[in-house]
């Protein structure tokens, strides 16, 4: 009996996109959260545009990271609770391959919209005009790192009920380097310095996480099913 990897991959992405499309309120929560955090900062600190410009890059990054974390926690929860995960483990397609499909669907629904929203958020915080491209490039790489490392944490905590605190404790140490590099790159660009170094390191981190994390995630899912 033969199975088509491509068909299984596309099928998994289609399933996740469909299901998110029918639960729009839940799907849009991270983006709403992101927008609210950005909108609250000037209210709580200062409406002074000079002062805001200094912290704009960092604020956008922290908000994006928290928004992504919010949605990542439940990446495998639904599939675990309804038994789909058992079917995935018993299929002819390797688990890591299906994990990549799920990550990709998640990124399309959370990471990509964040990258697109980021310039608007940065504009409202008066980020220096030279830094927009860098911000978007860094977020593009950064959200991929978040999705990959976050998936490991989501897989490990999927059977721990509401798992509340455990997930951020596991995942934060892994994704803080991406936050530092991304925020630094944005800051350098805003100051008119060359962000190339920080961006290159972030790209390296992105390649590392995207290529290796699915294997760790697949192994974690197996442990959670046991």
């Amino acid at each position: 009996m033969s199975v088509s990897y491509r068909q299984a991959f596309v099928g998994q992405i289609r399933k996740d996109l469909r299901q998110s499309g029918r639960r729009l309120a839940q799907t849009l929560t991270p983006l709403f959260f992101f927008s609210v955090v950005i909108a609250l900062f000037p209210l709580a600190m200062t409406p002074d545009s000079e002062a805001l410009a200094k912290i704009a890059g960092g604020v956008v990054w922290v908000a994006a990271l928290l928004a992504a974390l919010l949605s990542l926690q439940t990446l495998f929860r639904g599939d675990f609770e309804d038994g789909s995960l058992e079917l995935m483990a018993l299929s002819g397609v390797p688990m890591w391959f299906q994990v990549i499909a799920k990550q990709m669907a998640h990124w399309l629904l959370t990471g990509l919209p964040l990258v697109i929203l980021a310039p608007i958020a940065a504009y409202s915080l008066n980020l220096n005009g030279d830094a927009y491209i860098t911000l978007m490039m860094a977020l593009l790489l950064g959200t991929l790192v978040l999705s990959s490392f976050g998936a490991i944490g989501a897989a490990l905590t999927v059977s721990v009920g509401q798992g509340g605190l455990l997930f951020p404790v596991l995942v934060l140490p892994l994704i803080v380097p991406a936050l530092i590099l991304g925020a630094k790159a944005t800051e350098f660009a805003a100051q008119g310095r060359d962000p190339g170094g920080a961006l290159s390191l972030l790209a390296a981190l992105c390649i590392l996480s995207v290529s290796l994390a699915p294997f760790a995630t697949a192994a974690s899912l197996r442990v959670s099913l046991d």
Partner: protein, 218 residues
């Protein structure tokens, strides 16, 4: 009653057999069973036993979802032993958690699950029709009754084309007509030379020559 699709009428699986030696399983600090040895000799293995005797655990162990404390599980096809990696794609599992996503329709759920096992797009809607479930195809699974959900989940085994069906309490939530319907699926599977492992409190209403019973309580 059960009109198999014409394409499946002459379909036969390669004979598959399960050989288990000295299996021992624990849940927490409770020993469920030990020294369990079993060889399938008939197309349907009926596993019975009181609540908590380890029926579900045994099914999970046999499908490599859970690891046993001790013992070997050997799936054989046409005389050759299969590694776990080779054996798992041959198993269609329907457990307590039925693997159906509530917001997707029955047809969408079955399409996804079928894609995990076979290359050729089987006509899911046709299969639902052939088994008197056409009216459920376009409804979200969350809107189905427990019995209807179970029927959709059981039909997944047929669509998967797997030679081994592992069913955990397939008759739960099914009415008399539903049980007969499920038995019809099983008969179709047995005719196609398939193997079925199932736990249930009821005696499956099949030809007794086809059923082998394993009692975990003893």
């Amino acid at each position: 009653m059960n009109t198999a699709a014409p394409s499946r009428a002459h379909f036969r699986h390669t004979h598959i057999k399960l050989d288990v030696v000295g299996l021992e399983c624990w849940r927490g600090d409770l020993q469920l069973f030990s020294e369990l040895t079993l060889t399938t000799s008939r197309p349907v293995l009926h596993i019975c036993g009181i609540n908590g005797s380890g029926k579900t655990t045994l099914l999970k162990v046999l499908s490599f979802l859970t690891r046993p404390e001790q013992g070997t599980i050997n799936w054989q096809q046409a005389g050759a032993s299969l590694s776990p990696r080779e054996a798992t794609p041959l198993i269609s599992y329907v457990g307590h958690r039925d693997g159906l996503n509530g917001v997707l329709t029955a047809a969408e759920n079955l399409e996804w699950a079928t894609g995990l096992h076979r290359r050729h797009r089987h006509d899911v809607v046709q299969c639902l029709q052939d088994h008197q479930l056409a009216h459920l195809a376009r409804r979200p699974v969350a809107a189905l009754s427990a019995g209807q959900r179970r029927r959709v989940a059981l039909l997944r085994s047929l669509l998967s084309g797997c030679p081994v069906w592992i069913w955990d309490e397939p008759y739960a939530n099914l009415d008399e007509a539903g049980r007969q319907w499920a038995n019809g699926l099983l008969k179709e599977h047995v005719t196609a030379n398939g193997l079925a492992l199932m736990t249930t409190h009821l005696q499956p209403a099949l030809d007794s020559a086809a059923v082998q019973t394993l009692d975990l309580s003893s």
